[in-house]
Symmetry: C2
Subunit: 217 residues, 2 copies
């Protein structure tokens, strides 16, 4: 069984691994986990001792099979708790992350299986991210960034790739929430901002924002 802290490292390493084939760098972990590189090196050694990561000095880390399983399990717990908070306790999608950050460390397999059942086996969390099943299996459908669409394209909003409160509140405010249908009406040349129609309204989103919205065509 891993400590709180070890679990946090495993999860961060897992998320950083998704963006790249190569090993995850010490500094990248340090930045994400809000700590110093020296501390990361210490923890990496510990995880390597426990065979949760493969580590060669100065070469970064990769999760082992068992490290990856552990990480996916934490992700599963995090996302299930987020669903609970939104669906059952009526939190908004921008309010749940920090609480789930704590709840994800509760150690009880039984608890998670029952929570999953209570929530009717949800496939996605409130931000559209897929929830790994009990065996760690993950729906790996990849969606397209809104910023990649062309004028005239239609699609459904399936998720967001940025989870900050300000960003999510902004989307809520302009009506860009999960499941809504959109159609691109224009893409401004000079700044790449996107004009789109959604529920018979015309709205404009910056390229910056468009990059973090995930669409299924």
């Amino acid at each position: 069984m891993q400590s709180f802290t070890e679990e946090n490292y495993l999860k961060i390493i897992y998320h950083l691994s998704l963006n790249t084939e190569s090993a995850v760098q010490t500094n990248a972990i340090a930045e994400r986990i809000q700590t110093k590189a020296a501390s990361v090196t210490d923890m990496i050694k510990k995880l390597a001792d426990k065979k949760l990561v493969d580590y060669k000095k100065y070469q970064g880390v990769k999760l082992t099979e068992s490290g990856k399983n552990a990480a996916i399990n934490i992700v599963r717990r995090h996302r299930l708790w987020e669903v609970f908070l939104v669906e059952k306790l009526n939190f908004k999608w921008d309010e749940v992350h920090d609480i789930a950050e704590e709840l994800e460390h509760i150690k009880s397999p039984e608890l998670i299986e029952r929570l999953d059942e209570f929530l009717a086996f949800p496939r996605n969390d409130p931000h559209g991210d897929p929830i790994p099943d009990k065996n760690g299996k993950l729906d790996n459908t990849v969606f397209i960034k809104l910023s990649k669409l062309k004028t005239g394209d239609k699609g459904l909003i399936m998720g967001v790739s940025e989870h900050s409160s300000v960003f999510l509140q902004h989307l809520e405010k302009i009506g860009l929430t999960l499941g809504k249908q959109i159609r691109i009406t224009e893409i401004t040349d000079f700044d790449g901002s996107v004009e789109l129609s959604i529920e018979n309204k015309q709205i404009n989103v910056s390229r910056e924002v468009a990059k973090s919205i995930l669409i299924k065509i």
Copy 2:
């Protein structure tokens, strides 16, 4: 804000205070928290620095007003989570304590208020213990031990004062669960065991067990 560990000490001290007017002893805390007296002394000093307990060397501790508030808050969280686990996730009353022991430390006042609402503001936990309200107010109705009743007395089972899994499973098995009506039919002289009728069945419980069952006449 207190650490996990500090919270555990506060809660234990609170529970031990309930049985006595005088100060809580170091060894009593050590036994309950599964640690050594020396460790308790260290922690007591820390809690005293934070003005959560009053402490004079060799004289034991008492919670201050603010320590008591903190403790009651932890008890509130523990009992609300126990209700959640039993009512919503279908755990049995003997399975929830350890999980609630972890959940009680999640720090989010908003979470607890919403959980309370989601559960429809329960007054008692699955073991019959009262749940403090948001302001720390606690229903302090005291019930009578089954072992104090006389032949012919009738009453309702309102709670248990022992929470171990074996004990609760035993009660479940012989049908002595919360809310049931009982009537004492005989008290055996030599061992103090109690014979009672419940739902038209006659059962016999040892004096030991009878001491831990709480009754409203």
